[in-house]
């Protein structure tokens, strides 16, 4: 699977009213890559994630997911909510959340049989959550909470994971653990696309990057895409470059 492009964007533009959130993005995202979306606030990182999920109407251009257009309900795509968006006091167990991954395929009334349960068990096991399966979700650490949503995505059968600032609010150890997991997936055919605002982290751990400033500033392997020159361009040289200060 690795080697070909999973997403192809040609001339993608998105407008909110008259304001352009994304303009003329043309890029490819290779299958099995670990991709960082980088750019200043308002550069269109979240908008691009939502467009890739097929949630936003494009005002121009086209996005192709393999041979299709991305759309709601696409079983290969999984979006991970920001941790702040979730009510952690909701009366539900870890297993309950991971089981939700099967609901889009089952619909409202499809029977949750032994095969479904088995898929959920495997997803729990893969993300090392079996021992915590019956805990209420508030009792998990930040890193475990992220893994729970990844397990839900895997139970769904997704192989493309879109994450909005997954490292926000995680401590160093939890971030490292999550990165370690993504690195393990690298080359397994699973694609991770994450909006990231921490440049050193993106540089150190991601295989590819898309640098945005409403328009596409650079795309490609991280070392090239996130070169100092490109970063200066995207952040309008407002970024204090270490060592350049008087």
């Amino acid at each position: 699977m690795a080697g070909h492009d999973i997403f192809r964007l040609s001339d993608v533009s998105v407008h909110y009213g008259r304001r352009a959130a994304l303009e003329g993005i043309t890029a490819q995202i290779p299958c099995g890559a670990l991709v960082a979306l980088v750019g200043p606030n308002g550069a269109g990182k979240s908008t691009l994630l939502r467009s890739l999920l097929g949630w936003l109407p494009l005002s121009r251009g086209e996005i192709r997911l393999g041979d299709e257009h991305p759309r709601h309900l696409h079983p290969r795509l999984a979006y991970l909510p920001q941790r702040l968006e979730i009510d952690w006091d909701f009366p539900i167990s870890v297993r309950g959340v991971v089981s939700q991954g099967r609901w889009p395929a089952l619909g409202l009334l499809g029977r949750f049989n032994a095969a479904e349960r088995e898929r959920v068990d495997r997803a729990l096991e893969e993300l090392d959550l079996t021992a915590l399966a019956d805990e209420q979700i508030r009792r998990l650490s930040g890193g475990q909470q992220q893994r729970m949503f990844l397990a839900r995505a895997i139970a769904q059968g997704a192989d493309i994971f879109l994450l909005d600032e997954p490292f926000n609010g995680l401590d160093l150890a939890a971030s490292a653990e999550l990165l370690h997991l993504f690195q393990r997936w690298l080359g397994q055919g699973r694609t991770v696309i994450a909006a990231v605002h921490d440049l050193p982290l993106a540089r150190a751990h991601f295989s590819h990057a898309l640098l945005l400033d409403t328009r596409l500033v650079a795309a490609g392997p991280t070392a090239e895409a996130l070169s100092e020159a490109n970063i200066d361009l995207a952040y309008h040289r407002r970024m204090p470059v270490l060592g350049a200060r008087p």
């Binding site: 999920l53 949630w55 709601h72 309900l73 795509l77 999984a78 979006y79 909510p81 968006e85 979730i86 009510d87 909701f90 009366p91 539900i92 167990s93 309950g96 959340v97 939700q100 609901w103 889009p104 089952l106 409202l108 009334l109 209420q136 839900r152």
Partner: protein
């Protein structure tokens, strides 16, 4: 035993008490289900606003169309919709936020309702409207209660997964192809229908108590949504029975006495729930302070 019999069983020997009890038990089913959504979606105050806004519709319907349940339902749905849509519109199109819009609307509606009732003179009994009267539960009201409870139960059985996702993770629910707007709209319609059905026993303002209090109580005891739904229904039923008996013995209106007995369950839980109660929280805070003192000593 005989005391219990005299206190809790004997009152329900009368026809009107049986009808009142049956109506309250039926509405405990829908109340527990809808109340759980109200608590988890943080719509409790909106529910409160909604109940107040029903009053003018009910009063107008009573004056113009008589006191048939369908007429009352039509009036309530009309003013309920005006409040919900009006405050949503103001919340979205002006700088006012939705809670302020809701609050303003419900005060105006409530005042209009009281004005209408007092203008109607003796034709409409304000106290009856506000606090409920178990004597007033007619067989037709019972049919309305049974229908409201039945429709709500069926909706929850069919749409259970969608409801969980709509409350817990609306973004995932959207990516799973579920229509959030339909769920919200359906919820509001079910809420209004059940509030009107509860009107005779509970009164317009306190009807919400049969929704909110059982769910708030159950939420303090359990960690699974399905358990919370079931426990809310059970608490609602028990509170209704005890409340109606209390009303029979003391002469307090049935609405307040049901809400008071549910309130006892709620306060008891808020204090004593082993995991989420105040006493538990206080004990933990005390333990933490003590361990801090030990380590600093």
């Amino acid at each position: 035993m005989t005391l219990l019999h005299a206190w809790l069983i004997e009152p329900f020997g009368y026809d009107f008490m049986q009808r009142g009890l049956l109506s309250a038990l039926l509405l405990s089913i829908s109340g527990g289900l809808l109340g759980s959504v109200l608590v988890l979606r943080r719509l409790a105050l909106m529910g409160d606003a909604l109940t107040h806004s029903l009053l003018p519709g009910l009063a107008l319907a009573w004056m113009l169309l008589g006191r048939g349940p369908l007429a009352l339902l039509a009036g309530a749905v009309a003013t309920g919709l005006i409040t919900v849509l009006g405050s949503a519109l103001i919340g979205r199109l002006t700088r006012l936020k939705e809670d302020a819009a809701f609050g303003s609307f419900f005060l105006v509606a409530y005042a209009a309702g009281i004005a209408l009732v007092s203008q109607a003179g003796t034709r409409v009994d304000l106290l009856h409207f506000l606090f409920g009267n178990v004597l007033g539960v007619s067989p037709v009201d019972l049919v309305l209660s049974a229908s409201a409870a039945g429709i709500t139960l069926i909706a929850f059985v069919i749409a259970y997964r969608g409801i969980v996702l709509e409350i817990f993770d609306p973004i995932f629910s959207r990516s799973a192809g579920m229509r959030g707007g339909w769920y919200y709209g359906g919820f509001l319609v079910l809420a209004v229908v059940n509030l009107v059905a509860a009107l005779q026993t509970m009164g317009v303002i306190l009807a919400l108590g049969l929704f909110l209090l059982p769910a708030a109580t159950a939420y303090l005891w359990c960690d699974r949504f399905a358990t919370m739904l079931g426990l809310s229904v059970v608490v609602g039923m028990a509170g209704s029975a005890v409340g109606l008996a209390l009303s029979y013995h003391t002469g307090i209106s049935s609405g307040p006495s049901i809400v008071l007995s549910l309130g006892a369950a709620f306060l008891g839980s808020a204090l004593g729930s082993p995991r989420y109660g105040l006493l538990h929280a206080a004990r933990q805070a005390w333990r933490e302070r003590r361990s801090v003192r030990h380590t600093t000593d």
